[in-house]
Structure formats: structure tokens, C-alpha cells
């Protein structure tokens, strides 16, 4: 019995070491963002002798970090708000209406999950130009509504079916209908699944690359963090200390958010996966 317990502890220690090895590349990135160029070149795995915070101030100014951060926030918030609103309200109505029309619309909305973005990227770009949505953070945010809707609709639809119809009926008797019924009664009941969708979509929109590359790469004032990091590295191919700093600055917001919401994030993905 005792040896079994000891075995468990050894195994647990092994797992913790394994997880640290797993994260080692990120640790290397952080320590090298704090080194001078010559230090990076002589020894990557050594700890920095003194902390070179000037890498950070250089990249901060060069890529106009506050502006990029604002752009990312605008795109993500606008995109998310739209996805949650239009998908939840439609999923509710479609799940409650039993008709051929309702089934058809549901099918039309979730079907695009199978279309690879590369199949339509050129056309999306052309369409965005026609509708004057390109080179604008707002335009990009709005495009995400359609790109995010299929998955959100799929998850919401499955969830609404689990909410008993009696709730709608009693609310209708109390005099609520239409928007009031949805926003006062139904939407609050969807809270857990809304959290899941927000988590999945924040990670996706915040980090997305190809769509922003096509849509907002034209001007330095509309770029996103990932895009700027990508172009920056392209220009400073051998200045690894700056490149690593740009990497850290691009991923830092995600990591900070993750640390605060870690429990909810893992739970949210679990809920989404089980429902989906």
C-alpha cells in the first residue's frame, strides 16, 4: 500500500516536470525578450544578465502598441456582440418553430461550418471592397458576425431545445412576448452557453490571422496585434531580441486574461464540446 502511494507521488512529480518542459519554449521566449542582441546570439538558454526593458519600449513605440491594442479590442468586441446577439435570438426562434422553413434556415446557417475559408477568401475580399468594409476595423468586426454565426447557432440551438416550452408560455400569459420575452426570460437562461461561445470566439477573433491580413493590413492604423507582430518579424528577421519582444507583447493580453479566467475557460470549452 505504501509503495503504491509513493509510486503515485513519483508519477505526479513526473507529470509536473513534463508540463514544465511543455511550457519551456514560452519561458525561452520571455527570457530572450529581455536580453540584448549579443546575449541572444551567444547563449539562448542562459538567463539574462541584466533586464533589457529597452526592447519593450522600442517595440511599443515602433508598432504603436496602444493603437493596435485598441484595434484588436474594437474588432473582438464588435464581432462578439454581433455573433452572440444574432445567433442566440435566431437559434431561439428556430428551435421553437416547427416548420420546413425553420429547418431550412437552420441548415443554411450551420452548413458553412464545412466551407474552408481558403475556398472563399478572394471573393470575401472582393465583396468587402464592394461594400466598403475593407481597411476598417469596424468592417472587419462586422464580417465576423457571419463567420462566427454557424458554430454559435449550432451550440445555441442545441441548448434552447433543453429549455422547457412552459417557460415561454407562462411568460406570454404574464404579458411578455417577442423581444421582451427573449431578453428578459430566455437570454438570461442561456448564460452558461453564452460564456462558452464568448470564450471560444475571443480566442479565435483576437488571434485570427488570414482574415485580418486580407482586410486591414493596408494601413498601420488598422492593423491587429498578430498582423503587426508578423510584419515586424519580417522586417527584423535576424534581430531575434526584438522579434521575441514583439511575440511576448502580442500574446501577453491572452495570457493575462487566461490566468484570471482559467477555470471558466476550461469549463467553458468543456461545456461547448459536450453540447456541440
Amino acid at each position: 500500500m505504501k509503495s503504491k502511494k509513493a509510486g503515485r507521488i513519483v508519477f505526479e512529480i513526473f507529470m509536473v516536470i513534463l508540463s514544465l518542459l511543455f511550457l519551456y519554449p514560452l519561458f525561452l521566449t520571455i527570457i530572450n525578450s529581455l536580453k540584448s542582441f549579443s546575449e541572444v546570439m551567444t547563449d539562448v538558454i542562459a538567463l539574462p544578465k541584466s533586464l533589457a526593458f529597452e526592447n519593450y519600449s522600442y517595440v511599443w513605440k515602433y508598432i504603436n502598441y496602444p493603437r493596435l491594442f485598441l484595434n484588436n479590442t474594437v474588432i473582438t468586441v464588435l464581432g462578439l456582440a454581433g455573433i452572440v446577439l444574432i445567433s442566440s435570438i435566431a437559434a431561439y426562434k428556430l428551435a421553437r418553430t416547427k416548420s420546413k422553413m425553420s429547418n431550412l434556415i437552420y441548415f443554411i446557417v450551420i452548413m458553412p461550418m464545412l466551407i474552408p475559408f481558403q475556398s472563399i477568401m478572394l471573393s470575401v475580399l472582393q465583396m468587402a471592397k464592394n461594400f466598403h468594409l475593407s481597411d476598417s476595423t469596424w468592417g472587419l468586426g462586422i464580417l465576423y458576425w457571419g463567420f462566427g454565426a454557424p458554430l454559435a447557432m449550432f451550440i445555441y440551438h442545441g441548448f434552447v431545445k433543453g429549455i422547457p416550452n412552459e417557460i415561454d408560455e407562462s411568460a406570454t400569459i404574464d404579458g411578455a412576448s417577442g423581444f421582451r420575452l427573449f431578453f428578459r426570460v430566455i437570454f438570461p437562461l442561456l448564460k452558461s452557453v453564452t460564456t462558452t461561445i464568448i470564450i471560444i470566439d475571443v480566442m479565435w477573433i483576437w488571434n485570427d490571422f488570414l482574415l485580418p491580413l486580407l482586410m486591414v493590413n493596408g494601413s498601420p492604423t488598422t492593423k491587429t496585434l498578430t498582423l503587426a507582430a508578423y510584419t515586424f518579424v519580417g522586417q527584423y528577421t535576424s534581430d531575434w531580441q526584438y522579434a521575441m519582444t514583439a511575440m511576448v507583447m502580442a500574446v501577453l493580453p491572452s495570457i493575462i486574461v487566461f490566468m484570471f479566467l482559467q477555470k471558466h475557460i476550461v469549463k467553458g470549452v468543456v461545456a461547448g464540446a459536450v453540447k456541440g
Binding site: A46, K93, P112, P116, S119, L122, G146, W206, V270
Partner: protein
């Protein structure tokens, strides 16, 4: 009169609730998809105002032997198969471990999930740095030969690097799906099997794995769709090199369309990709769903 009015009110409400999502999806998927079909039948450099209609010539040219497309397809197939198998096996094994009650469970789950919150382009750059600079220092301090290989400079190793980095980034996501699946396996079934004399291996294959089938369906579906579209990580990690050996289909389409300005030709390839994805995912879902029912 009243009846008709109510029916119309209901229809109006149905429209108001569902139209926004319908318009959004049509605008970003269906309308562009129609344009894609049209572009695929043209020769167009993106500069001239009107694409020139050439019928099925693009498709003929692709199928009569486009070496880039063939190589990229072969790369993508190899990559997809290995990625799907390895990432799912690893995630199931890790999930079995992290489903046990340990003091560090919360930390371990978070640690394996962290790379998934990073952008794939950035993950590619980070690993490029590790392969090019970091391995040199690691090799010097450990003396291990594995760090002295040219991980991005040699075709076979570059392939393994792309695979490795993608798995590193996403294994945490699949891990979380499998943990969710494991938590829905009832404990009393496992206990009953133990009482009946089933060992851990037998228990895993006879009880846990069949009950995990829905999670496997979802994970394989996601791994499949994601691996067929692999692009970001290759762009920043190898840039398609060495010697064009790590171009994926998605990257090949991107290159033809936006770097070589072959708008019509690239779009025709994109359409072929769509049909392939459709057929493969349909087959996958049918097979896996059938197995689920049996289990």
C-alpha cells in the same frame, strides 16, 4: 380578421429574429461562394477590370498535372493523417492521467492548454527561434545529437517540425474535450468491471473507450477540418521551405491567388479543396456516428 393579423405578426417576428443571422451568413459565405464558382471559370490577374471567361480550362490544367498542387495535396494528406492520429492518441492518454485525482490537476490542465490560446502565426515564429537559435545552445549544453540536426533545413525534418509544433499548440484543446467525455463515464460501471475481475487495460478498452466515442467523433472532426486547412503555422515556421517541400494545399492556394496573382486559377484550386473537405468530412461523420450507435 384577427386570426390573419396574428399569423402575420408571428411571421413578422420570425423574420425579425432570423433575418440578421441569415443575411450575415449569406453575405460572408454563400454570396462569396457563388463568386468563387464564377472566378474559377476565368483567367484573371486581379488588375484588369473584367475576368476573362475560359470555361473549365483551369480545372483541366490542375488535373493534367500541376506539380505544386500535387505536392501540396500529398503533404496535406500525410500531415492530416498523422496529425489526427497523434493528437487524439496523446490527448486521450493525457486525459486519462489528468482525470485522476492529483494535487496538481488544475495546474496540469491549465499548463497543457496554454499554447492553445496563442495565435498560430506567433507559435510558428517562437518555434522557428527555438529550432534555429535555441537548439544550438541546448545542443552545446547537453551534447545531444537531436539538437544538432537541421530541423527546418531538411525536408523530412521540416515536415516533422510542422507536425510537432501544430500538435504542441493544440493538444490541450483536445485534452479538454476528452476530460469532459471521461467525466461522463459513470464510476459504478468501472467499479462493476473491477469487481468482475477486469484489469486496467481491459477496463479501458471495454468500457472507457466505447463510452468516449462521442468525444472521439467531435475531436476527430475538428482535427480533420483544422488539419486540412493548415496554413498559419507553416507560413511563419518554414515559409513553405526547404525547397517548397512544406507547402500545404491552403498555402498553395494562397500563394497562387495573392502572390502569383493567378486569381482564377487559385480560386479553381480553392473550389477543389472545398469539394474534398465536403466529401471527407461527410464520410468521417457517417462512419464515426455509426460506431457511436453500436457502442
Amino acid at each position: 380578421m384577427f386570426k390573419l393579423g396574428r399569423k402575420w405578426a408571428e411571421r413578422l417576428e420570425f423574420g425579425v429574429f432570423t433575418l440578421p443571422v441569415l443575411i450575415s451568413v449569406i453575405a460572408v459565405f454563400y454570396y462569396p461562394f457563388m463568386m468563387t464558382i464564377r472566378y474559377s471559370l476565368t483567367k484573371w490577374n486581379g488588375i484588369s477590370k473584367n475576368p476573362k471567361f475560359i470555361g473549365l480550362d483551369n480545372f483541366k490544367q490542375i488535373f493534367s498535372g500541376d506539380a505544386n498542387f500535387m505536392n501540396a495535396s500529398w503533404f496535406t494528406i500525410k500531415y492530416a493523417i498523422l496529425y489526427i492520429v497523434i493528437v487524439n492518441v496523446l490527448a486521450i492518454l493525457l486525459a486519462l492521467v489528468l482525470d485522476m485525482k492529483m494535487k496538481s490537476t488544475t495546474w496540469l490542465r491549465a499548463a497543457f492548454f496554454i499554447p492553445y490560446i496563442l495565435s498560430l502565426v506567433i507559435v510558428g515564429f517562437i518555434w522557428k527561434f527555438i529550432f534555429m537559435q535555441g537548439f544550438e545552445s541546448l545542443g552545446a549544453s547537453t551534447g545531444w545529437g537531436i539538437f544538432k540536426l537541421s530541423w527546418l533545413g531538411e525536408p523530412n525534418l521540416a515536415f516533422i517540425s510542422v507536425l510537432l509544433v501544430s500538435i504542441w499548440q493544440s493538444v490541450g484543446f483536445y485534452l479538454v474535450i476528452y476530460i469532459a467525455g471521461l467525466q461522463s463515464v459513470p464510476d459504478d460501471m468501472k467499479e462493476a468491471a473491477t469487481v468482475d475481475g477486469a484489469g486496467p487495460v481491459r477496463r479501458f478498452f471495454s468500457i472507457t473507450l466505447p463510452l468516449l466515442a462521442p468525444s472521439i467523433t467531435i475531436s476527430v472532426f475538428m482535427a480533420l477540418t483544422n488539419s486540412i486547412k493548415v496554413f498559419d503555422v507553416i507560413l511563419s515556421l518554414t515559409g513553405g521551405g526547404p525547397g517548397g517541400t512544406t507547402y500545404s494545399v491552403a498555402y498553395d492556394i494562397y500563394r497562387d491567388t495573392f502572390q502569383n496573382n493567378l486569381y482564377g486559377y487559385g480560386t479553381a484550386k480553392a473550389l477543389i479543396l472545398f469539394v474534398a473537405v465536403l466529401i471527407i468530412t461527410m464520410i468521417q461523420l457517417t462512419i464515426f456516428k455509426r460506431r457511436e450507435v453500436e457502442a
